[in-house]
């Protein structure tokens, strides 16, 4: 389990590091696979876990990366790469590390954390996702980081409570699936309408 967590964290770091959107697709797909593995391994196998794991695999490992991949293929090469990380992102990362340690320090005595290492990985992935969503400029990067945060959150739930209630788990998946579909569709339309995939250019509405 901890190894899965470590792998997932590394994939999250990979998401942050990579600027090529095609790599992003693979990283996301990898995260999806890891998550479904985690669902299957964290609890005794029942029909419910099998269904949840399968759904995770379908939505996070297949649907979302597939959608991104399909859209990307139709775009010219210039729109498939993100900008480099700005310098201030590194500063934010340091701050995030501080905040994470603060929270872990606070939560230590409460005994709510079941798997400390996994908890760290989860929190770190979430924060990497936050840094990424603020620092990256490609529309799809934002979507990818949103998914990555959600993935980290699932790991967080696992580290704290073993698993989320099935109802919530499935609801989350559906929500995320719809959200990702909508956003991929939207990024397509934004690309059509404005010939850009850079969120910086989305600043006409102001004041």
């Amino acid at each position: 389990m901890n190894d899965l967590g470590l792998l997932l964290f590394l994939l999250a770091l990979g998401l942050l590091w990579s600027r090529t959107m095609h790599h992003t697709v693979w990283f996301l797909a990898g995260e999806g696979v890891l998550l479904s593995l985690m669902v299957w391994t964290s609890e005794p196998v029942t029909a419910v876990t099998v269904v949840v794991g399968l759904a995770t695999l379908v939505v996070k490992g297949g649907l979302i990366p597939g959608l991104i991949h399909r859209i990307l293929r139709t775009w010219p090469a210039a729109f498939r790469r993100d900008h480099p990380l700005p310098l201030w992102a590194y500063g934010i990362t340091v701050l995030v590390v501080l905040a994470v340690s603060h929270v872990i320090h606070l939560l230590g005595p409460t005994g709510v954390i079941q798997h400390a290492l996994l908890f760290f990985y989860a929190l770190a992935s979430i924060h990497v996702g936050f840094v990424m969503i603020v620092a990256r400029r490609h529309l799809l990067s934002q979507l990818a980081s949103l998914v990555a945060i959600e993935n980290g959150l699932v790991v967080l739930a696992v580290s704290l409570a073993g698993a989320l209630p099935t109802f919530i788990e499935l609801g989350l998946l559906i929500d995320l699936g719809i959200a990702a579909t909508l956003m991929v569709w939207m990024s397509h339309r934004i690309h059509q309408a404005m010939h850009t995939t850079d969120v910086i250019t989305l600043r006409r509405l102001r004041g």
Partner: protein, 625 residues
């Protein structure tokens, strides 16, 4: 039940807005009903109000009577008024009803509802002529200032409510006096500020000279005659009657504010050449005079000096009534002048006494009254105000000197008011027309209502004693005895002898037996442009009070030979409105600046927005311990 009847009448008047005559008749009935109900309340009213939402007490009855009086005369006036528009017929009854609600309200919510309705209805009345330049701006300034005052009043009343655990005014009247001094001070500050803003005391007056002239004359007369008095009503009812003795600073502050308002009001009035703006500034002046009475009463309460309480209250109330009468008389006359000539610029008028003698008589009578000259009613109430201040000067030490200073200010104000109305009635009605133009004949109702008000003001100036008798029961705490107050002045003797004297001397000098000759103009053909204008008449005042006015003039010479041989001169000059320059414009600019600054939050980039969310969460986590 009476209240219900009045409200029904008012609503009927609103509904009947398509039928002018019916609407006017209902309006008149409503107003007369208010007078009757007010009179009834003064004669028979219980000294304290009951528990209902709308209750009559003697003080409220007095103001109701004032309101009804002005309203009925202005309804009569509207019968022949040319500008009696649909919006006027629609909003005016509502305006009246909301003012009645304010007066009769017996709990906070009813009061505030009435107060705000009063603002909005009068706002729509002010913007009747929205197509004219500056009217919208005036209306807007009026609306915003009123709202600020309403919020301040609400705050003050909520303090009262918080400490007395009741929104019922009758409870306030019973228990208000027992509040701790600090709380009283807070209430006094908030309510005093709020009511002061609504009555147009300086420096919160800027809305008044804008809003009053913008409205049609019957509305101006109601706003000036009745609406701004409700601020005084609020101060009397909540601050002096309910709270009782407060910190001594407050009444002295009221006196100072009154003095400043009266003096500056009349000074700014002098510089006006729009007749209705001039009258509006005089409203500020008269509010100042009323506040002097209110202040004397407050000082009397604080120093436990019943004589001062009596004279202060009587002066304030009586001047309220008188100002309502003569100011609406003057505003209505001004409206008639506008209907007659189409302009209100005094420098374009002149000689109207020959074309509208009735209005001229009414205006001159009103001028005499507002300048506080015998035998009109203004004389009586200004005399009483002086009398109250003399009472203060009667003491010792600095308070006495303060009193003397106030007397001097009031004296100066009176003299300036006299000067101003010599100017106003002289330039408009006497002499020769400065500009030729068509003159519309006036219907009888205009002249009738103006002269009717003049008659009332004359009667009150000669025999005010019955009304003073009515004031007796108004303050439940002090049970005033006002009978003897006017003994030294003996208005019937003064008035009577004055009339007899003028008649005798007029008879002796045989005023009818004269020959008309051309006037002397150093041997040249006399010409209308030789007359003094409003600006030249007040030149000396302008230079004397240059510190306040900050006059400026700018002359541009035009033509091929300029500057030595100009063919044309462009002259512009005026005075700097100090308050607007140093108080209102900075505040206004600051607000706009803040507003612009606040929209910088929403700059566009989505990453920034996300950073707000995550940053705030991070900050909260960092604060966690």
């Amino acid at each position: 039940m009476v209240t219900g009847g009045l409200f029904t009448l008012g609503l009927m008047a609103v509904v009947a807005y398509r039928w002018p005559r019916w609407s006017l008749l209902l309006n008149l009935l409503l107003s007369l009903g208010a007078v009757a109900y007010g009179g009834y309340g003064l004669w028979h009213g219980s000294p304290t109000a009951g528990p209902g939402p709308l209750e009559l007490s003697p003080l409220r009855a007095w103001f109701l009577m004032v309101l009804g009086l002005v309203a009925s005369l202005s309804s009569w006036y509207r019968w022949g008024y040319h500008d009696d528009q649909v919006s006027l017929r629609l909003w005016l009854p509502l305006f009246l009803l909301s003012m009645m609600t304010v007066i009769l309200a017996n709990n906070l919510w009813v009061f505030m509802t009435g107060w705000e309705s009063m603002t909005i209805t009068s706002f729509f009345l002010v913007t009747t002529h929205h197509e004219r330049p500056d009217v919208l701006k005036s209306g807007y300034i009026y609306l915003v200032m009123s709202q600020v005052s309403a919020m301040v009043i609400l705050a003050g009343m909520l303090v009262m409510d918080t400490h007395l655990h009741s929104v019922d005014f009758s409870v306030w009247a019973q228990r208000g006096a027992a509040l701790p001094r600090g709380t009283k001070s807070l209430i006094f500050g908030l309510l005093g500020l709020g009511f002061g803003m609504k009555s147009g005391v300086i420096p919160f007056h800027v809305w008044l000279p804008r809003a009053h002239p913008a409205a049609p004359a019957p509305v101006s007369s109601l706003m000036s005659g009745a609406m701004i008095k409700l601020g005084i009503f609020g101060m009397l009812q909540f601050l002096l009657f309910d709270l009782g003795p407060t910190a001594r600073l407050w009444p002295l502050l009221v006196l100072a504010v009154g003095a400043v308002s009266s003096l500056l009001g009349v000074l700014y009035a002098l510089m006006e050449h729009d007749l209705k703006r001039l009258l509006a500034y005089h409203s500020i002046e008269n509010i100042g005079i009323i506040l002097l009475g209110v202040g004397v009463m407050g000082v009397g309460i604080d120093w436990h000096h019943p004589a001062w309480v009596a004279v202060g209250l009587v002066a304030a109330l009586f001047h309220t009534l008188n100002h309502a009468i003569f100011k609406s008389q003057l505003f209505l006359a001004a409206g008639a002048v506008e209907q007659h000539t189409g302009t209100l610029d005094v420098d374009h008028l002149g000689g109207l006494l020959r074309t509208i003698p009735g209005i001229a008589l009414g205006f001159i009578a009103g001028s005499l009254a507002i300048s506080g000259l015998p035998p009109f009613n203004g004389f009586v109430s200004e005399w009483l105000t002086f009398r109250g201040l003399v009472g203060l000067a009667h003491g010792t030490g600095l308070l006495a000197l303060y009193g003397l200073g106030l007397i001097m200010v009031l004296g100066l104000t009176g003299a300036l008011a006299g000067l101003c109305f010599v100017k106003a009635s002289g330039v408009v009605f006497l002499g020769e027309p400065r500009q030729a133009g068509p003159r519309q004949p006036l219907p009888a109702s205009l002249t009738g209502s103006v002269l009717g008000l003049a008659a009332i003001s004359l009667i009150l100036g000669v025999i005010p004693q019955p009304l003073l008798h009515l004031i007796n029961g108004i303050d439940p705490a002090y049970r005033l005895s006002t009978e003897g107050l006017l003994l030294p002045v003996r208005t019937p003797i003064i008035g009577g002898l004055l009339v007899v004297g003028v008649a005798v001397f007029a008879g002796l000098s045989r005023v009818w037996d004269v020959r008309t000759v051309p006037r002397w103009s150093c041997g040249r053909e006399a010409d209308a442009s030789m007359q003094y204008t409003s600006a030249s008449f007040t030149k000396a005042i302008r230079t004397t009070f240059a510190v306040i006015y900050r006059p400026h003039r700018h002359v541009v010479r035009l033509g091929p030979g300029a500057p030595d041989f100009p063919t044309r001169l462009l002259y512009s000059g005026g005075t700097v409105p100090v308050w607007e320059r140093y108080l209102y414009r900075p505040v206004y600019g600051f607000l706009w600046g803040m507003s612009r600054l606040s929209t910088r939050i929403q700059r566009g980039p989505v990453r920034l927005y996300l950073a707000y969310v995550l940053g705030t969460v991070g900050l909260m986590l960092a604060l966690l311990h």
